[in-house]
């Protein structure tokens, strides 16, 4: 066979398969689901699973429908929800990070719920709105976490420093506290949401928006946030560190200040105490030192689009009771370092975990991550984390990296 013939056969083969793909295309509209157990898709893990199941059993008793958890890892939950729904076997409810609600609702994976006579004013405003998309309520927050700044009190006192409030404070303190064998400040710089969501407060405090990553404000904020690593006040290793790794360094006195997730705080306090180190806590910093606008983390329990009628009603009831169950919320707070978004439960939770006071302060001025860009959030989060890593490692200037981030995020949105 000569070359031309090979090419022709190949082309024909490809054409045939391509037609096949065209004809069958992706999955058709979903089929109605049989009555049966109501599946809750979750990325809960370890102790969380039985704890959640205890709660869902209550829902089962209240509504007469059996609630079952289906566990996937956090990295796959979004795609899993989409895939399952596309195959006509969508979950009845999804318990996932609040920033996923917009994307899932936009794709048609969620159902609007009825919240009955629930008073929205009983919830912290930002988290309550994180269960909404384009004006409809798809779910309710079950609790919130966030990142706060922790510091080695002894070291700050010794250097005559106050807890940092502004960009200038943090930079000065980081510079002063960096010595041989110790870094002034650490933040997680792991690619993806882990990095991007610890940056948003700085972007907002500079007057920037997630919708425009190339703006001068965004460039300014990125320059600031990457400066610690770039100038050597933060360890290069933080490109691989999660909050859990960072608290070990703080507790060992090798890092003076750090921004970490609230879910690690009780662990940090315990470890630091064992080493005789006193830990101070404060909110994330802002450009001018005023109260920062901070993104909040935490999960929303929302209804899946595969349920309707009585089943949807049962799911709605379960969602409402989960989010307002004071006793359960307090219990979860303790285990996960969550603060309930339901105000009546907050006081009791703070009594149990007093170190979350900083978080409750911060939550008052918080903003949902998808408020500005809705379902386009995920492409932005990826673009910004790449850009921040580039700036911090000196691979690109802040201006270039951010312009590029905006361009590639906006493409095809």
């Amino acid at each position: 066979m000569n070359k031309l013939a090979v090419a022709a056969v190949m082309a024909a083969a490809l054409a045939v398969t391509a037609c096949g793909g065209n004809a069958s295309g992706p999955a058709g509209p979903q089929e109605p689901k049989d009555k049966g157990p109501l599946v809750v898709l979750t990325y809960a893990q370890g102790d969380q699973l039985p704890m959640y199941q205890e709660f869902f059993d209550k829902c089962s008793a209240d509504t007469g429908y059996k609630f079952e958890q289906l566990q996937v890892d956090s990295e796959n939950i979004f795609n899993k929800a989409i895939q399952l729904t596309a195959s006509g076997d969508g979950p009845a409810a999804i318990l996932a990070d609040n920033q996923m609600v917009a994307g899932l609702a936009n794709a048609g994976v969620l159902s609007p719920i009825s919240i009955g006579d629930l008073d929205p004013n009983d919830f912290v405003e930002g988290p309550f709105k994180s269960g909404q998309f384009e004006g409809r309520q798809y779910g309710l927050p079950v609790g919130n976490n966030g990142e706060v700044v922790v510091y080695n009190k002894g070291l700050l006192d010794e250097a005559g420093l106050e807890a940092p409030k502004s960009w200038a404070d943090l930079t000065e303190a980081a510079k002063k506290l960096t010595t041989d064998g110790r870094y002034g400040f650490a933040q997680t710089f792991v690619a993806g949401e882990t990095l991007s969501w610890n940056f948003w407060a700085q972007l907002w405090s500079a007057g920037g928006s997630i919708a425009d990553l190339g703006s001068p404000e965004a460039v300014e904020a990125a320059t600031f946030w990457a400066s610690f690593l770039k100038d050597g006040y933060a360890p290069q290793a933080q490109l691989q560190w999660q909050s859990t790794d960072i608290i070990g360094e703080v507790a060992a006195g090798r890092v003076a200040m750090a921004q970490v997730g609230t879910w690690t705080l009780s662990n940090l306090l315990e470890q630091a105490k064992a080493n005789g180190i006193e830990i101070g806590m404060t909110t994330q910093v802002s450009k001018d030192g005023s109260a920062p606008i901070v993104p909040f983390g935490g999960e929303v329990l929302s209804a899946g689009s595969s349920v309707s009628g009585d089943e949807l009603q049962a799911v709605s009831e379960c969602i409402v009771s989960w989010s307002t169950d004071v006793e359960g919320l307090v219990k979860r707070t303790k285990l996960l370092g969550y603060l309930p978004s339901y105000i009546p439960a907050q006081e009791a939770a703070l009594r149990e975990s007093p170190f979350l006071t900083v978080l409750s302060e911060q939550l008052k001025t918080s903003r949902g991550r998808t408020e500005e860009v809705g379902a386009d959030y995920q492409s932005r989060t990826l673009a910004i984390s790449t850009a921040l890593q580039k700036i911090a490692t000196g691979d690109a200037t802040a201006q270039d990296a951010m312009t590029e981030a905006q361009a590639s995020a906006a493409k095809g949105e």
């Binding site: 066979m1 090979v6 056969v9 992706p26 599946v39 370890g46 289906l70 895939q83 006509g88 999660q242």
Partner: protein, 275 residues
């Protein structure tokens, strides 16, 4: 070819061989050793080869992993079997029938392998959901053979082509059909190559995570790699449990490997050499 014999002697070569093995298996040695240290030690900045504190706590709940281990073994063995059952006749056809489009067939088989599995996972999920292969062992076996089948065909084809035509003809004259020729002449002659292809197909399927997570929608089938994810939270990993599970998983796999050691290399590509 006897390059080292003159300088270091056979036992010297054994020493060199063990040294090479030690370097290349260092990561695995650490996996096994670290399964005896508490998870908190994984979060210390300086990893140590020998555990600082020796503990068996990671093995406390290990019996929960036996089920997933058996599932993994079953899927990998069946995948190897499937790769051979459909790969051998295809290799025979490509080698013996001398179809003119053989080059194109080879081409298509090869090109199919280039896409990262993650890219084909979603379409495969969608088509499997239409034909009812989700949440089933057969579905996972088919998906997990996606590397083994092309590999078997590619490796066996030149081997079968290398069998002298006279052998096959003798079988024909005896009145055997092509299937019988395949069974009574080709397979026995290429036995070691077939075992090697099967072994690699097993290895391709063993330890799969992606298909397990994609094609399971209700948690009924949990292979080992999927059960490992129970140890992984958003920002905290129970490394001790993972290492203990991996260590347990090494046992059947190692036994299999040692048992089949003489086939691992014997004649795998002898056919290709004959061209």
């Amino acid at each position: 070819m006897r390059r080292f014999r003159s300088s270091v002697g056979p036992y010297g070569q054994t020493v060199v061989g063990i040294a090479i093995l030690a370097v290349l298996l260092f990561p695995l040695a650490w996996v096994v050793l670290s399964s005896f240290q508490p998870t908190s030690d994984f979060y210390k900045p300086n990893p140590t080869l020998i555990p600082r504190t020796f503990t068996l706590e990671n093995y406390a709940n290990i019996s929960a992993q036996f089920g997933p281990l058996a599932t993994s073994l079953l899927i990998a063995v069946l995948s190897a079997a499937l790769s051979l059952v459909i790969g051998i006749p295809a290799a025979y056809a490509l080698a013996v029938f001398r179809w003119r489009r053989i080059a194109v067939a080879m081409f298509l088989i090869l090109i199919t392998q280039v896409v990262p599995t993650v890219m084909i996972a979603t379409p495969v999920f969608l088509i499997f959901s239409k034909i009812g292969l989700l949440n089933s062992i057969p579905g996972l076996v088919i998906a997990n053979s996606s590397a083994g089948v092309p590999f078997t065909v590619l490796v066996l084809t030149p081997f079968i082509a290398g069998i002298p035509a006279s052998l096959r003809e003798a079988a024909y004259l005896d009145g055997a059909g092509e299937w019988r020729t395949l069974l009574s002449v080709i397979i026995p002659t290429t036995r070691s190559a077939i075992i090697a292809a099967g072994l690699f197909s097993f290895l391709f399927a063993w330890g799969d995570f992606l298909w397990a997570v994609t094609l399971n929608t209700n948690g009924t089938i949990t292979p080992l790699s999927l059960s490992l994810f129970k140890f992984i939270a958003y920002d905290y990993v129970e490394w001790g449990g993972i290492m203990a599970t991996a260590t347990i998983a090494l046992i059947p796999a190692t036994i299999l490997l040692i048992a089949s050691q003489r086939y691992i290399s014997l004649g795998l590509t002898a056919g290709a050499v004959k061209d």
